[in-house]
């Protein structure tokens, strides 16, 4: 629209959303300020380095500070709030708690979103592959080891679950 706003229609966590927002509004701000989905965090303030704002766009992990809200028109967004099914934690969430893979938790939503996408593409990753897949996420508290362990454990759980459902 010529007034510097854009009308967007998108699906967020399975819910239809329609809104008029400034064209320059970042997706992360739209999620946080407009939809109150504050689980998506800002760490590096829009450099795309820290990964705390990672969400899924049409099933793929993306950094929501690197996109405009207007760019998700007609697409599907999944945030950390939509990762668990009803009250059942995602296997990654369960594994993160068991392995103490989070301390302050600020980076955690972004890491969960990145790793849940990664495990779809690589269901049996090695430690090294997990570490490499984490290059887009900064965690300042844990030193990463517990995160790697949790992702490996979750991969095991998900494999067993997938085996059962075959």
């Amino acid at each position: 629209m010529s007034d510097g706003t854009a009308k967007i229609k998108t699906t967020v966590n399975g819910r239809q959303v329609e809104a008029v927002v400034p064209v320059r509004m970042l997706l992360v701000d739209f999620l946080r300020d407009h939809l109150q989905l504050t689980g998506t965090h800002v760490g590096c303030t829009f450099e795309g380095v820290c990964g705390a704002c990672t969400v899924h766009l049409d099933g793929e992990a993306v950094k929501s500070c690197m996109l405009l809200a207007a760019q998700v028109c007609g697409r599907e967004v999944l945030t950390v709030e939509g990762l668990a099914r009803d009250d059942e934690l995602h296997p990654l969430q369960k594994a993160f708690q068991d392995a103490h893979a989070l301390q302050c938790g600020y980076c955690t939503p972004g890491i969960l979103m990145n790793m849940s996408d990664f495990l779809k593409r690589n269901p049996e990753p090695s430690e090294n592959e997990i570490r490499l897949a984490l290059v887009g996420n900064i965690c300042r508290c844990t030193g990463y080891s517990h995160i790697v362990e949790a992702v490996q454990n979750a991969a095991g759980t998900m494999k067993v679950a997938a085996g059962r459902s075959l």
Binding site: V49, Q97, V135, R140
Partner: protein, 813 residues
């Protein structure tokens, strides 16, 4: 209590914090809003040292959504400058006068110059770009070497020179006593069989958390000021705000958000913004909010460790250290930072320079000089990171000089009998340093490593093993903390049991990822025989919590948790008394047990009452009470330790260095720490792994850089590199256990000091690997290009670096 069988203490309980944090339901500062809140953008100086000639804000004021624009000149007549007594340490330093916005001149790149208040964050930033500041440059004073010259440009007109702090830590406070100390150590050095002198440099670096800072405030003429802030010390902030804004304390409430995205010391100071935002809210009569950007954060906070050490140690032929002389110089930055003023960290670093070594005779002097950089500010391993690096390198250099294993030199110099008072007056209280160190040496199997190292060297491969150790405060007792920072050291907690037997813990400190909810709940559950799910821990709101000096210095695991325990004990005894009275038993409180949700005599378990029912009886049915017994179940404890507490940790690092490129790989990293009674092993392991990686990230990657005009070059996380997962090794955590005799549970706070031993272990490993080339690494950071250059300078015959010359990975060397 520590000899009893524990139900919760020592258990790997999964954290109570986790589910909400993993589900996007954390409540961090940035998630909080108030209706009608105004947003701030702070215009910061683009110059390092300059007079402010003029500030043109006409265009900014006209910009969409702008409510107000303030500069230093606008506020200086309405707001008292710092220093104020509440944020001034009891140390012989200088405390430069400053307002939250620059007045007259700017003193570093990033100093706040003006603030835009607007209806929207985007609009505030738009307007900020329209503010035009005309500067007249002054000479940039960018190092203590320049700052200390007699003809140096004065940075603070209210100080007579640029030396902000100077003190001897071993020679007393008179000129004569200092001279006597200098002469005594000089004589020891002059007569010692072995003397080693070296210079060390540690870079400007720290532990910036992933969550930036933020402040939100609202003013109400009846209730006064309410301020939400990312802070480790809401109660200190409250007192400071009351004093600076001239509001009675009962009209100031500070709330730290329930969840904070890391602190590591950076959320402990009383910053310019801590004052500015509440002042704006009061002045404008509207709620105001400021959320720091990453760029601002890297410009201002988390910069520590910027020091030089000129060291001499004297030793006998066996390598037993006889004396040490240290001349420490700190690059203080502008020093305008409430509570810490840039030099409090170097002060603690100098005071703990002997670390865990028995150094009977020392001459330690520190000078700190103001420079045109942001003030040094606290970062985990508060003050001690540079000193631990220096002492651990010196021990290895000494080992080489006397021809012994570095392990042997540590064994003969580590404090072997505790308690011990260091030459600087630090009281090392308890533990067994040699036991912990020897346990670590056994884990890494030194003899097998040396064999492998010799064999690989014959193949042209270079592996190395290095050790680092350190003592670190586990909280600070009041008798030290009052002297250092005019603040009490006690840990405090209030415990309330409600009529349904659920327990509330109120803590005045503000955790930042430090697992207080879980560990404190475990202690409560242990005391009352209930489940941790029936405990809620609420923190950081000055309206309902007991006074605490803040979540810092590893206080939680020693002081605060002890207050939690003692308050629980008070209530448990009361419940036991009333139980005995009600049942007309001839028993003492110690005969009553609290287990699995029931209260009963230990010898008559069937004569039991549910915990919740007994709580209900005391809170809701206070009839037929024992004589003199009050109703209700609430207790507050202020725990003070009988003695100061320190914990000891030792680290071992193994590396392989590739001399053709100078690159290196950490092949194994092992720690051995003595935390006394461990409340939650998962949490302790997490603290250690994270702390080691922070130490490695500081030593290998991070560095705040300034150009020749004082422009900060590292204001993005692209330029200021933090370690990511593929950069760092897994850290193997082992424990040595000696309970702390000064806490009721035998626990010792750890966490703060973990990064300290890291640079010593790493650089000693690299030097050990490169021993055939006689390389000494006495400066941080350590990077492959530096190692490559050193090898070149030594004329090492290692060929030219070739593409792909990195050799195969060596796992678990």
């Amino acid at each position: 209590m520590r000899n009893e069988k524990f139900a919760w203490i020592g258990k790997k309980a999964v954290r109570k914090e986790d589910v909400r944090l993993m589900s996007g339901r954390g409540q961090y500062f940035a998630d909080m809003q108030l209706p009608g809140v105004l947003h701030c953008f702070i215009v910061r100086s683009m110059r390092a040292h300059a007079k402010i000639v003029s500030i043109d804000r006409a265009a900014a004021k006209q910009s969409a959504g702008v409510v107000a624009v303030f500069t230093g000149d606008d506020i200086k007549d309405h707001l008292d400058p710092l220093p104020h007594p509440i944020v001034v340490p009891n140390l012989p330093g200088k405390f430069p006068k400053h307002w939250p916005l620059a007045v007259g001149k700017v003193k570093f790149h990033g100093e706040p110059v003006a603030v835009i208040v607007a209806t929207d964050r985007y609009l505030a930033e738009d307007a900020g770009e329209l503010v035009e500041v005309v500067y007249e440059d002054l000479p940039y004073v960018g190092s203590p070497e320049v700052s200390s010259r007699p003809d140096a440009t004065l940075i603070h007109e209210d100080l007579d020179n640029n030396e902000i702090f100077s003190m001897s830590f071993t020679g007393g406070f008179t000129e004569d006593s200092v001279k006597a100390n200098v002469d005594e150590i000089e004589a020891i050095i002059n007569s010692a069989p072995v003397v080693i002198s070296r210079k060390f440099k540690t870079h400007r670096v720290g532990v910036t958390p992933l969550e930036t800072r933020g402040v939100m405030a609202k003013w109400d003429r009846d209730d006064g000021l309410t301020c939400w802030a990312t802070t480790q010390r809401p109660h200190i902030d409250r007192l400071a705000l009351a004093e600076v804004l001239n509001i009675p304390t009962h009209m100031v409430r500070v709330i730290a958000p329930r969840d904070q995205g890391g602190g590591f010391g950076t959320k402990a100071p009383f910053y310019r913004e801590s004052i500015l935002i509440p002042w704006l809210a009061k002045t404008l009569g509207r709620p105001v909010r400021w959320l720091e950007s990453r760029e601002e954060s890297l410009m201002v906070v988390g910069q520590e460790r910027d020091q030089r050490h000129e060291m001499t140690i004297a030793a006998d032929k066996e390598g037993k250290i006889l004396g040490m002389r240290a001349r420490v110089v700190a690059d203080n930055g502008d020093g305008c930072m409430g509570v810490y003023w840039g030099f409090v960290m170097p002060v603690l670093g100098a005071a703990t320079l002997p670390s865990g070594y028995y150094l009977p005779k020392c001459d330690i002097q520190l000078r700190s000089y103001v420079t045109n950089k942001p003030s040094l500010s606290p970062s985990r391993s508060f003050g001690s990171y540079p000193g631990r690096f220096v002492i651990e390198r010196l021990v290895d250099i000494l080992a080489k000089e006397v021809g012994k294993e570095p392990v042997e030199i540590r064994r003969i110099n580590l404090v072997s009998s505790l308690p011990h008072v260091t030459a600087t007056g630090c009281h090392l209280d308890s533990g067994d340093y040699l036991k912990a160190f020897n346990s670590l040496v056994a884990t890494v199997d030194l003899a097998a490593f040396r064999e492998k190292q010799t064999a690989l060297r014959r193949q042209g491969r270079y592996i190395g093993l290095g050790f680092g150790t350190g003592v670190e405060i586990s909280g600070i007792a009041s008798d030290v903390f009052v002297q250092l920072e005019n603040q009490p050291g006690y840990g405090s907690a209030t415990i309330r049991i409600d009529a349904r037997g659920r327990v509330q813990v109120l803590e005045g400190d503000a955790p930042q990822g430090t697992s207080h909810e879980t560990t404190f709940s475990q202690v409560v559950a242990e005391n009352f025989g209930i489940h941790i799910a029936d405990v809620v821990v609420q923190t950081g709101d000055t309206a309902n919590t007991p006074f605490g000096s803040g979540s810092l210095g590893a206080r939680g695991g020693s002081y605060t948790v002890s207050a939690v325990h003692n308050a629980c004990r008070t209530l448990r005894d009361k419940m036991a008394r009333i139980f005995i009275f009600d049942r007309k038993l001839d028993l003492h409180v110690g005969d009553i047990q609290f287990e699995d949700g029931f209260v009963f005599p230990a010898l008559d378990p069937k004569n039991r009452i549910p915990f919740a029912e007994l709580a209900d009886r005391i809170v809701m049915k206070p009839v037929n009470m024992p004589p003199g017994e009050e109703a209700g179940l609430e207790a507050t404890s202020y725990f003070e330790a009988a003695k100061p507490m320190f914990y000891f940790g030792a680290h071992a690092c193994m590396v392989e260095v590739f001399p053709k490129t100078g690159e290196f790989e950490i092949t194994r990293y092992v720690t051995c720490e003595d935390a006394g009674t461990v409340i939650n092993p998962l949490v302790v392991e997490g603290q250690i792994q994270g702390g080691v990686v922070q130490g490695l990230s500081n030593a290998m990657f991070e560095e705040f850089l300034y150009d020749e005009h004082g422009q900060q070059l590292t204001t993005t996380l692209e330029a200021y590199k933090l370690a990511i997962a593929p950069d760092v090794p897994h850290v193997e955590v082992t424990h040595s256990f000696t309970p702390c005799p000064h806490t009721p549970l035998g626990s010792r706070g750890i966490g703060e000091g973990i990064p300290g031993p890291v640079p010593g272990a790493l650089t000693n490993a690299l030097c050990d690997a490169l021993a055939p080339f006689d390389i000494e690494i006495n400066e941080l950071p350590v990077r492959s290009d530096k190692i490559w250059r050193m090898l070149r300078e030594k004329g090492a015959d290692i060929g030219k670096p070739e593409k792909g010359s990195k050799q195969p990975e060596l796992q678990n060397a």
